[in-house]
């Protein structure tokens, strides 16, 4: 449905180049939930913005539903929508909820009664009371705001919705509500999700396929079950094992990798992960490894490619 | 020691110390300390010989020659002796186009030197103003000037006067020292050193006197003159200014309403100067019609235009301005005379009440001089209120030549009037030597001028109040608006009174 090829996005700030996204290939299949995980600053949100045409592409190409995506025309706009992390800044505080929700349809020239109809339908879908339309955003709690944000994304009946950390700003006890809502909507409306998160448990719970990003690149991608069951890339392994389980009987995994994420301004040469990698070989410091298919997953690692790494934990 | 030095305060300050470059009256404040002319005016307003030991007019074949014998043994501050060469040099400087005083020597064609002390001024035509302006040639040190140049002279001027220049900070102070080799021991200052503070703000100047920071001030604000008279150990003197509050009207521009004499007369009748003198100036003013007592041709019977707003309105209506007329009014002010700014505004307010509406342009006097010198006279449409002399003491010819004659053929050359008949009369005065004949002609012209409100309207002469402590002995000289500082010294007895002044 959505294909990204060798996408790069570099920002220029203070004369320095930030390599926010540095050569990413992605294929999202209709109807699935595709998750993007990675630590803070690895370029997840930037990638989402690229897909939405909000950030410029430095290199690479995109296509949506088989058509190359060069101009972000109205037709595309109707088919792809987004829900952001922060339910506060997503809603213009000066507009009524009904205005916020109707705006996308007005922009596409829908008739007044079409809009009203859809509005009622969508509000019911996300579980908002009908009178909510007359209120202003600040009269709602965070969870309800996120429902409004989701409703807004649904107004144009999109095929793909990008979810950029849709629940991480919410109260713990509310998260499940929103997550369940999203799942229900997907089941009902057959929407495709691109879910961006750094909460691995959430990703495992909610996605069909997953891609792990590190410093602007994808290091491993494949079916969620596969990857969580047997992560292959050293970074994926470290990431998954570092997540503390809500189960005191399981001993904490001692740290697999040291150091911290390098800066996107001057990323390490070769494989971006090599300074923290326990298995690094010479080649890693020089050449950046391509994504290579191994069974159902694709991994970007020289060591795995040469078979030196004992994959099993 | 304190007895050696006196600190005084002036309200206004000269901008120029070179007497051949002066453009403004205040310049005389400083010039008169350092420089002298051939003749001088005594405190009794009589003309006396000064640097000239004797002089005489020699009339041969229509041309006029004035023979002068310069006083011997007069020294400049640097010790050089004053000679006729110095006068010739000054004459030449005064003739240069950049001079502001060339008018005084307009008809002098040459200064012929006979020897160190004798010279003859050659005139191209009879010109009584040469004499009337005290044979207006300054004693400038030729040798010194040639040595230090223009800039050097500005920095440290020297002359033959009773005071030597020491230092100057514009807008702050001038420090001068007694010239001990001064030729005229009679009027030699008693103090060794004089510090002249420049304090334009009335309140500051008054405070400076009251707190004892200075012991002599000029221009005591009229509002406080009465209080000063009662201050202990203080002497005050009221001196009539040689200037007039003068309304100059532009009667030459094609579209100026003042081309019509009725409008000019309306201006003359619209303002209640008696009230202004009484309330604003606390009586410190003398209403004048044209000339002041002491001027040649003064006519005590010529009465000022009375305050008569109805008449003014009627005159305006007659002239076709029944609905009023709008003009620019230039309020030219100096700190030299009191309350000029508000009196200007008061006058304009009176004018407004009869229908002459002013758009006020506030200018310092110097600014007006600087405003657009593209033509012979500074640009001024409408009306201007300013302090302007009408030839006091002495004779109004130069003044009238300046603001009545259309060419500005006289001092300043700021005439905004053009009337061939009046021009002819002014011309006639310029060549008439005999004083009695002149007096008659002046009287006639003054009457005519008054009737037509031509060449500006004199209104009142301000009375300036000077105050000093009784430890000081001060005798005012009329030169430099009474600020000449010739006779000033300690008064040990505290009983020194100034010589009585003429009416």
């Amino acid at each position: 449905m959505l294909n990204l090829r060798a996408i790069k996005c570099h920002f220029q700030t203070n004369g320095q180049i930030v390599r926010a996204v540095d050569g990413v290939n992605l294929d999202i299949v209709k109807g699935e939930t595709f998750a993007l995980v990675g630590e803070s600053g690895c370029g997840k949100s930037t990638l989402a913005k690229i897909i939405l045409g909000l950030a410029p592409i430095t290199a690479g190409s995109m296509s949506f539903a088989g058509e190359p995506l060069i101009k972000f025309n109205k037709r595309f706009r109707r088919r792809v929508q987004v829900v952001f992390q922060d339910p506060y800044s997503s809603l213009n505080p000066r507009l009524k909820v009904s205005t916020i929700l109707s705006e996308p349809m007005w922009a596409h020239g829908f008739k007044r009664d079409e809009v009203t109809q859809r509005l009622e339908l969508v509000m019911a879908l996300v579980g908002l009371q009908t009178n909510a339309g007359n209120l202003y955003p600040h009269e709602f709690s965070g969870g309800q705001r996120q429902r409004i944000a989701i409703a807004r994304a649904l107004m144009l009946a999109p095929e793909l919705i990008l979810l950029d950390e849709p629940i991480s700003a919410l109260d713990v006890s509310i998260r499940a509500q929103i997550l369940n809502l999203l799942q229900d909507l997907q089941d009902e409306l057959n929407i495709t999700y691109l879910l961006i998160a750094h909460d691995l448990a959430l990703v495992q719970h909610a996605s069909d396929r997953v891609a792990v990003m590190y410093l602007g690149r994808i290091v491993e991608t494949g079916p969620t079950e596969k990857i969580f069951a047997s992560p292959q890339h050293p970074y994926t392994q470290a990431l998954i094992s570092a997540v503390p389980e809500p189960d005191p009987t399981i001993a904490r995994n001692s740290n697999l990798i040291r150091g911290e994420v390098a800066s996107a301004i001057e990323p390490p040469t070769g494989c971006h992960f090599h300074p923290r990698c326990p298995h690094k070989i010479d080649r890693c410091t020089k050449e950046s490894p391509p994504l290579v298919a191994r069974e159902q997953v694709q991994v970007s690692c020289w060591v795995i490619g040469s078979g030196d790494l004992n994959v099993a934990k | 020691t304190r007895d050696d030095t006196l600190t005084i305060a002036f309200a206004a300050e000269a901008t120029q110390v070179d007497p051949t470059r002066t453009t403004a009256g205040v310049d005389a404040y400083f010039m008169s300390l350092f420089f002298e002319q051939l003749l001088s005016t005594a405190p009794d307003l009589q003309r006396i010989n000064w640097l000239a030991e004797k002089w005489s007019i020699i009339d041969t074949n229509n041309a006029v020659k004035i023979k002068v014998k310069v006083r011997e043994g007069v020294l400049f501050h640097n010790g050089d002796e004053l000679t006729t060469e110095d006068f010739r040099f000054a004459y030449q400087r005064m003739r240069e186009p950049t001079s502001g005083v060339s008018v005084y020597v307009r008809y002098i064609t040459d200064v012929e030197i006979h020897n160190r002390y004798e010279m003859t001024l050659h005139l191209s035509q009879p010109d009584p103003t040469v004499v009337l302006s005290n044979l207006h040639i300054w004693a400038l040190p030729k040798a010194y000037f040639e040595r230090v140049g223009e800039a050097g002279f500005q920095k440290h001027p020297i002359g033959t006067g009773p005071w030597k220049f020491v230092s100057r900070k514009p807008r702050e102070e001038l420090i001068i020292e007694r010239f001990d080799e001064y030729w005229n021991k009679d009027v030699q200052p008693g103090y060794k050193r004089l510090v002249i503070k420049i304090i334009p703000e009335d309140t500051t100047r008054v405070a400076a006197y009251k707190t004892g920071a200075v012991d002599w001030i000029d221009a005591v604000p009229p509002a406080q003159a009465a209080e000063f008279a009662t201050l202990p150990n203080t002497r005050v003197i009221d001196l009539p200014a040689p200037n007039n509050m003068f309304l100059n009207l532009n009667a030459i521009d094609r579209d100026s309403p003042f081309r019509d004499p009725r409008v000019r007369l309306a201006v003359a009748h619209a303002v209640d100067y008696d009230a202004i003198i009484k309330y604003v100036l606390f009586g410190k003013g003398i209403r004048t019609a044209q000339l002041a007592p002491g001027t040649l041709g003064y006519d005590p019977d010529l009465a000022p235009h009375p305050y008569d707003p109805n008449r003014a309105r009627a005159l305006l209506a007659e002239a076709g301005y029944a609905n009023g007329v709008g003009i620019n009014c230039y309020n030219l002010t100096t700190p030299r005379e009191p309350y000029m700014k508000e009196i200007g505004e008061t006058i304009y307010a009176y004018l407004a009440q009869v229908g002459i509406n002013c758009r006020i342009v506030q200018l310092e006097y110097g600014a007006w001089i600087n405003v657009g010198r593209f033509n012979a006279r500074p640009w001024m449409d409408g009306l201007q209120s300013t302090m302007w002399g009408q030839g006091l003491p002495g004779d109004p010819t130069t003044a009238w030549g300046g603001h009545l004659h259309s060419n500005g053929d006289g001092w300043g050359g700021y005439s905004y009037h053009s009337d061939a008949k009046l021009d002819a009369r002014v011309k006639e005065l310029r060549t008439l030597i005999n004083d009695d004949e002149r007096a008659v002609k002046i009287k006639e012209l003054a009457t005519l001028k008054h009737k037509l409100a031509a060449g500006g309207i004199p209104t009142y002469r301000p009375i300036i109040t000077f105050a000093w402590r009784d430890t000081v002995d001060f005798k005012p000289w009329p030169t430099a608006f009474w600020r000449a500082m010739r006779q000033i010294g300690p008064c040990p007895s505290r009983a020194c009174t100034p010589t009585t002044l003429p009416e």
Binding site: - | I199, P200, T204, L363, N370, R373, F374
Partner: protein, 306 residues
């Protein structure tokens, strides 16, 4: 830091250049400069000669660069009124202005720091209320009025202090208060809000949580953090005071740069006005540059080019 300074310096130069350009344009608006320089009865030939001599026959751009050149060497021409170099006239007044500016600034700082700090510390207390009232009034009472009121009360009515002129320390008191009046208000408000932010910051809580004394926290830690906005303010106001405390100097008859320029305006003494305006722009830029430098001392993030 070097990079930062360089960019600030560059900006400052551009700003001064802009100021010079404005002055140049204004000069041209004034009409034919020759008319001002030549005597009334100068001939056409005199005009021509002077025009060539002054380069006024050259294209405007060339004239601007000549003007810039002469500005750079401090040559603003002679004062029409005083026949002395205009810049000298201004520079002569600088000590008086400096004296007043320093006094005004000291007054402002000495009052603003405790007011700002205590009103932030004790929100809604009487100190805070006083500071708020002060800040409000400071903005609403113009310096010339406060100056006149000070004269009315302390000089005229009570006769405690001299009202006018420059002299000993007592002459400095009233003008310094009048000059510092507005900055006190502005600085108090800035300091108050900066301190409020800072006192709520995590690092102050951290400092408290390890038991540092309140005194050290406020006067050492927090104040140092508030120093950056405070330095900006101090810089701006000091520069303004130096560039011409016009109104206050006029009110108190203070023989400083400001009063000189005001008088020059009334006398249409353009060279002096020009020198005054450009001097105040240069002072403004210089003082702000110093402030920028001081940021480097105060805040290491700036020192390290962040």
């Amino acid at each position: 830091m070097a990079r930062y300074l360089f960019s600030r310096l560059w900006q400052g130069l551009i700003a001064i250049l802009g100021a010079v350009l404005i002055v140049f344009i204004a000069q041209r608006l004034a009409g034919d400069p020759l008319a001002l320089l030549l005597p009334m009865d100068a001939s056409e030939a005199d005009f021509e000669a002077l025009r060539v001599e002054l380069g006024l026959d050259q294209p405007l751009l060339v004239q601007f660069f000549r003007f810039l050149q002469s500005v750079l060497v401090g040559d603003f021409g002679y004062s029409y009124q005083w026949q002395t170099p205009a810049l000298d006239l201004i520079l002569d007044r600088l000590p008086a202005t400096l004296e007043l500016a320093v006094a005004g600034l000291l007054f402002a700082i000495v009052l603003a720091i405790p007011l700002g700090v205590f009103s932030a510390l004790y929100q809604d207390s009487w100190v805070d209320r006083v500071a708020k009232v002060f800040a409000m009034l400071g903005q609403a009472i113009p310096s010339f009025w406060i100056g006149l009121l000070l004269i009315l009360f302390f000089a005229v009515t009570l006769n405690w202090l001299p009202a006018y002129g420059r002299g000993n320390l007592s002459h400095l008191v009233l003008p310094a208060i009048a000059l510092g009046w507005y900055p006190v208000a502005a600085m108090t408000r800035t300091l108050r809000s900066a301190m409020l932010d800072i006192l709520q910051s995590d690092y102050i809580r951290m400092a408290r949580s390890v038991g540092l004394s309140e005194r050290a926290i406020i006067w050492k830690y927090a104040l140092r953090n508030a120093a950056v906005p405070l330095a900006t303010m101090i810089g701006v106001y000091f520069a303004n005071m130096l560039g011409g405390a016009f109104v206050v100097e006029v009110v108190f008859a203070w023989p400083g740069v400001g009063r000189t320029v005001v008088e020059a305006v009334f006398n249409r003494d353009f060279p002096v006005v020009q020198a005054g305006v450009i001097l105040s722009a240069v002072v403004f830029v210089l003082v702000n540059l110093l402030v920028d430098l001081s940021y480097g001392l105060i805040d290491p993030r700036i020192r390290h080019g962040r």
